[in-house]
């Protein structure tokens, strides 16, 4: 054996590095290796290709070719004629304002629309690392305040709009953004508190997490909307949306705290010791050494929880708040539009998907970027 290698080595002493054989690289090789590597794999590939093709063709026919895009004056006869053959996107065209803005006064729709744009702008700015500095916190405070003013009005010549009339996508974004913006710092404090050496702080944090985690979000929302007002003094009334918001913050906080704690526990003890030995105090150690590393470790489960809560905001429908999903559901209650649920749900689903997919994609990029130091 060693003889052979020796001979081979002497035969071509300065062989230039060769590329792998053509049959091993490129698209063709990939297809052969992954789709047609044996008779079973070939069979499965062909069967799946047939099903996918049929489904895509069917969807294109229903959703695009035979679709009805608009109807005059809510005359849905054209849609009913095509039922089962073509989609009735007219329902979305007709009701899109209701789905996006709920029962907000029609002539004031520019206000929630602007709020949605502000939210999206805020997400985009926050996603860019070059803006990650203390000013960003002020930007958030400012934008959230502006959104509050825009939605409520009552100042600067904007007519007052009571919270009961808010609805649609803007409610979903408010609940999710405010919810996570407050739940995340809360979660970090609770996770740190659970590892505290002070027994009282530790006990409070453990109690909070276990109590909240042990209860379904729906029952928390019920408690917030029905029971909470009973404890308030006579005449004092906290906004229903705010109560739901607080319930969501507390719920998300407990879950996120456990995710963050996982990251804290994964850090080697040596990191804490090195920071101690250098004389850093608790908050310096936590802020510069522990959290930056712990949070990077838990980006995937963190984003998983974020995405989960973005969608969980739809549960507020049970206490009568009109979020995106509830608005969609309500849009098709009207007799003229009954029976066109699929089109509305596809649209609402697509809106949720865009936000969640963006979060997911962004987190993958962020993970790769922030863990660059692990690459050698």
């Amino acid at each position: 054996m060693s003889d052979i290698t020796l001979n081979a080595a002497t035969a071509a002493p300065e062989a230039a590095p060769r590329t792998p054989p053509a049959s091993q690289i490129g698209l063709l090789a990939w297809v052969r290796a992954n789709l047609f590597s044996g008779w079973l794999s070939t069979l499965v590939t062909l069967a799946l290709a047939y099903l996918i093709l049929r489904w895509v063709v069917g969807f294109v026919e229903w959703g695009i070719i035979n679709a009805v895009w608009s109807v005059p004056n809510s005359q849905t006869q054209a849609c009913r004629d095509m039922k089962g053959i073509g989609a009735c996107w007219a329902v979305v065209t007709e009701k899109h304002r209701f789905i996006l803005f709920g029962t907000y006064p029609y002539e004031e729709h520019w206000r929630p629309a602007l709020c949605i744009l502000l939210f999206i702008g805020l997400y985009i700015v926050s996603a860019m690392r070059r803006f990650w500095r203390s000013g960003l916190a002020f930007l958030w405070a400012g934008v959230l305040a502006v959104i509050g003013v825009l939605m409520w009005g009552g100042v600067l010549g904007l007519p007052y709009v009571p919270q009961e009339r808010w609805g649609g996508l803007v409610i979903t974004l408010i609940l999710a953004t405010f919810g996570l913006a407050f739940a995340f710092p809360l979660a970090i404090l609770v996770a740190l508190g659970r590892r505290s050496k002070l027994p009282a702080i530790k006990a409070i944090c453990v109690l909070y997490v276990e109590l909240i985690r042990g209860v379904p979000l729906i029952s928390l929302l019920f408690m917030a909307s029905v029971m909470f007002p009973l404890f308030l003094p006579e005449g004092m009334n906290i906004d229903k949306l705010l109560r739901a918001q607080i319930a969501i913050i507390l719920f998300a906080g407990a879950y996120l705290a456990e995710v963050v704690r996982g990251g804290l526990q994964a850090l080697p003890k040596g990191q804490y010791e090195a920071a101690d030995a250098l004389g850093l105090n608790y908050w310096q150690k936590t802020g510069f050494i522990i959290l930056p590393q712990a949070l990077r470790l838990v980006i995937p489960p963190l984003v998983n929880t974020f995405i989960g809560f973005f969608k969980d905001t739809s549960l507020v429908l049970i206490i009568g708040i009109f979020d995106l999903l509830t608005a969609g559901k309500t849009a098709i209650i009207e007799p003229a539009w009954q029976g066109f649920g699929i089109e509305v749900y596809i649209t609402v689903g697509a809106i949720y998907f865009v936000f969640c997919f963006a979060m997911s994609k962004y987190s993958q990029g962020l993970e790769a970027e922030l863990n660059r130091h692990r690459r050698r």
Binding site: A277, L278, G279, L280, Q293, R374
Partner: protein, 261 residues
């Protein structure tokens, strides 16, 4: 010739006020008695090497000096300040005591330069520019200034340990503690780290070093302390300890070490 000079120097040093005083220190892990009545004075500028079999309490002892571990009985004074639950006193001590760990413990998410400047900026309140100049000075001294912008994960073990030494030195400590600084390294990297520590010893820094490197101990130590089962069994100059061991325990340890190498 140089050896005689060194011994004269060490004799002079013992007159200086003690940098570290350990007085009948006791520590238990649960029921396990890991430090038993350990008493040791380290003079300013003195270089002490602690050796002993694994589990003998060497690391625990030096970790008690900057209170990474707490002792339960006895007193520890560092620069005349007693270690206690007083956080202010602890901050004062940690500021003056640098530590180098067996597993380096660099901060992997910060660059080499940031590793070195973090504590001077935040603990010593040094302006950033000044801290960076200081860090580059020490990185030059440990001979890796060109790696300043890299992350710890991109460096070899020996380079990482030299960064760890530079990081501790950037706090301008009066005392340096080394907890088995070469145990996690490949043989060829041990040499570069030991050379760095030797050159540091030549500056007159007070040092306590836990190590199994006997050659190193002979070269730099003013005093060698042999520990076994949580107590100090013998101590003296390297020549006394290595050439004329008095106890069976030390004889056994030395024979094992020599066989191992």
């Amino acid at each position: 010739m140089s050896e005689t000079l060194e011994h004269v120097a060490s004799a002079a040093r013992t007159d200086a006020p003690p940098a570290i005083v350990l007085d009948k220190v006791n520590k238990w892990y649960g029921a396990l008695h890991v430090l038993r009545d350990v008493s040791l004075n380290v003079a300013l500028g003195e270089r002490v090497v602690i050796c002993g079999p694994s589990g003998s309490g060497k690391s625990t002892l030096i970790r008690c000096i900057n209170r990474l571990e707490t002792h339960q009985e006895g007193r520890i004074l560092v620069n005349g300040i007693e270690l206690s639950d007083d956080i202010k006193a602890l901050d004062d001590i940690r500021r003056e005591v640098g530590m180098v760990f067996q597993s380096f413990n660099l901060f992997p998410h910060l660059t080499i330069l940031e590793n070195c400047t973090l504590a001077p900026i935040w603990v010593r309140r040094m302006p950033k520019k000044e801290a960076e100049e200081l860090a580059m000075e020490y990185l030059t001294r440990v001979r890796i200034p060109e790696q300043a912008k890299k992350y710890p994960g991109q460096l070899s073990g020996g380079q990482q340990q030299r960064v760890a030494i530079a990081r501790a030195l950037c706090m301008k400590p009066k005392i340096m503690l080394f907890d088995e600084p070469t145990s996690a390294l490949d043989p060829e990297m041990i040499k570069e780290v030991l050379e760095t520590i030797v050159s540091l010893a030549e500056t007159g820094m007070t040092m306590i070093c836990v190590t199994h490197e006997m050659g190193f101990a002979r070269q730099v130590a003013d005093r060698v302390v042999f520990m076994d089962r949580g107590e100090i069994v013998e101590m003296g100059t390297p020549t006394q300890v290595f050439e004329t061991p008095q106890t069976d325990r030390l004889k056994l340890f030395l024979s094992q070490i020599l066989r191992g190498h």
